[in-house]
């Protein structure tokens, strides 16, 4: 067998490759996409290698302690800490009895200390960020480094809803893959997409939201849109449902230029507004505006879905939400099912929609994965 640096096993253990999978950013994303464009036959290998790296990271990290074990360890450490303070430094024998006697108190003190310290550190962190720009940036980068990149892969045959920490929601179609970091980045929100997804993004002018897919960057400040970056298609399509979106090719930009473009607080380049669409050629990097919408039947339920309710019974509203986001909503059908709702909920992220509905119903909601429970007294 000849040595191929891009063979499966070689990729899985390549430092650069791991870096790209675990911490995709504009520059390594571009490098590997260029590689893929030049070596289309490597696509499957790259996908398989990526899956391995993610599985390996996930599986080797499965032995973390339970909350109880964490508490136990901290209690033991804490008790020994103060013991060392009161007496001399040379104590070796464990003090089990002491640990138990002061256990309850320690527990409370420990949690308080933890909460306080975490709270104050994050406060200072944010405080710093708003005051000056230099030092905290470093800290933010470090944070990004230690935080795990989250990879979501929809290998079911139904859409998958993903809630991002900023409250935005993404409906990922079967076969799609979305990776993002839960770290709080000072400047922008970034995700990488392959496959097809519908985005509903919370407005935040200070932090642009960027989607990278095969050399195309889609940038928004808060809006809803669909991206189809399926592996099989030559083109990537972007279609805007509400608000404005800008797209640019990152193939010809270097890292600094990409960052500049990403951080601008306005939308430059090619901008799209409501119902406009573009196609981006993966091969040539050309962006073409597409003419008026051609309705494709059965396409992207959620994109075509109208969330306009006029005296609509709640059970119908929930049914619509369930289908569009592929979630299960549980509520008291007898009490709430026949209440009616007037609302226009276009382009809002899933959570905002829920909030609006619950506000109108004077109810509360709770989300657990794709299970939503709504509790309320019903309408008057």
């Amino acid at each position: 067998m000849k040595h191929d640096p891009y063979a499966l096993t070689e990729l899985i253990r390549s430092d650069e490759f791991i870096e790209w999978v675990m911490r995709p950013d504009a520059s390594n994303e571009k490098r590997w996409q260029t590689f893929l464009e030049n070596n289309p036959d490597k696509k499957q290998t790259v996908e398989a290698a990526r899956e391995y790296v993610i599985l390996l990271a996930k599986d080797t990290g499965r032995d973390q302690p339970t909350k109880k074990q964490s508490d136990r360890m901290w209690n033991a450490v804490e008790s020994r800490m103060h013991e060392a303070e009161n007496e001399s430094l040379a104590i070796e024998e464990p003090a089990k009895g002491r640990m138990i006697s002061g256990w309850r108190w320690m527990r409370v003190a420990a949690s308080a200390a933890l909460i306080l310290s975490i709270g104050s550190v994050s406060y200072w962190f944010y405080y710093k960020q708003s005051v000056s720009g230099k030092a905290p940036n470093l800290a933010a980068m470090q944070d990004l480094k230690t935080d795990k990149i989250i990879q979501r892969h929809n290998d079911s045959d139904k859409p998958m809803m993903i809630l991002l920490t900023d409250g935005s929601s993404v409906v990922l179609q079967p076969g799609g893959r979305l990776s993002y970091s839960e770290a709080v980045n000072a400047k922008r929100r970034e995700v990488a997409l392959t496959g097809k997804a519908f985005f509903e993004i919370v407005k935040n002018k200070e932090k642009p939201f960027l989607v990278y897919s095969y050399g195309l960057a889609t940038k928004v400040l808060g809006t809803s849109f669909m991206i189809d970056a399926s592996e099989a298609n030559k083109d990537i399509r972007v279609e805007v449902k509400t608000g404005t979106v800008s797209v640019f090719s990152i193939n010809n930009l270097d890292k600094k230029e990409i960052e500049e473009e990403s951080d601008k607080q306005e939308l430059t380049g090619i901008t799209l507004s409501q119902d406009q669409r573009i196609a981006f050629s993966k091969e040539s990097g050309k962006i073409t505006k597409l003419s008026a919408q051609v309705l494709e039947t059965g396409d992207m339920d959620i994109l075509r879905q109208e969330f306009v309710f006029d005296e609509t019974p709640v059970h119908e509203v929930f049914r619509k939400m369930e289908i569009a986001y592929n979630v299960q909503i549980s509520y008291d059908k007898v009490q709430m099912g026949n209440c009616t709702l007037n609302a226009t909920l276009i382009g809002q992220p899933f959570k905002e929609k829920l909030e609006a509905i619950c506000n109108a119903l004077d109810a509360e909601y709770e989300i657990n994965d794709n299970l939503v429970s709504i509790v309320g007294k019903g309408c008057k």
Partner: protein, 205 residues
């Protein structure tokens, strides 16, 4: 204002380390919170006796606090320091209780003393995580040092150089561990794919 500036810098490991040397309990708490879980995870790859792992993690932190006055000034990576210390601790403990070596072989059928495991399995019933679970089973069949190297590389995100330092072997050996593990994983996966195919077919009829 001055106070803010000083404390804002606490974010990085190095600065926390410096503050621990000065006796700052809060800094110590943050370091504990930041690393005790991944350390425990790593320790679990070295022995399947969770009591030993817990003790070792505790001891590493207790040592850091007790010996804070003598801690090295220029620690390039606090994380690296903690992992290496944990590994030593566990090896010391294992010398004291050599019985654990035998327990390590039991893990295949039942993973004792690891509630975190069964929890995750219960939550994820989707096919993706079932596949992950299967690969995890394969992981449990690999020699311990290979699993150790994989964990440090993929989960803990250490460089090969750092892993060599932690495990006390050459970089070449680290690359070797990883390479061997990957090739046997691949080999096993082919069997896995075939067997799951058969399973699916059985399900259809």
């Amino acid at each position: 204002m001055i106070n803010f500036d000083v404390l804002a810098g606490e974010k990085t490991d190095q600065q926390l380390w410096q503050r621990i040397r000065e006796g700052d309990e809060q800094a110590f708490t943050i370091i504990f919170e930041r690393y005790h879980r991944t350390l425990y995870n790593y320790g679990s790859k070295l022995t399947s006796n969770s009591a030993i792992v817990e003790d070792a993690v505790q001891d590493v932190f207790i040592d850091v606090w007790r010996l804070r006055n003598n801690l090295t000034d220029n620690v390039t990576s606090v994380k690296f320091y903690l992992y290496r210390a944990l590994r030593r601790r566990i090896h010391l403990a294992q010398d004291k209780f050599p019985v654990t070596e035998e327990i390590a072989f039991l893990t295949e059928n039942e993973t004792p003393a690891n509630p975190a495991n069964s929890e995750t399995i219960l939550i994820d019933v989707e096919s993706a995580s079932r596949r992950a679970k299967q690969i995890q089973n394969l992981l449990s069949q690999l020699p311990q040092r290979q699993v150790e190297a994989l964990t440090l590389r993929y989960f803990d995100d250490f460089s090969v150089e750092e892993i060599a330092g932690i495990m006390g072997v050459s970089e070449k050996s680290v690359r070797n561990f990883i390479y061997k593990a990957l090739t046997s994983l691949r080999h096993n996966r082919q069997i896995l794919i075939i067997s799951s195919l058969i399973f699916c077919l059985l399900g259809v009829f």
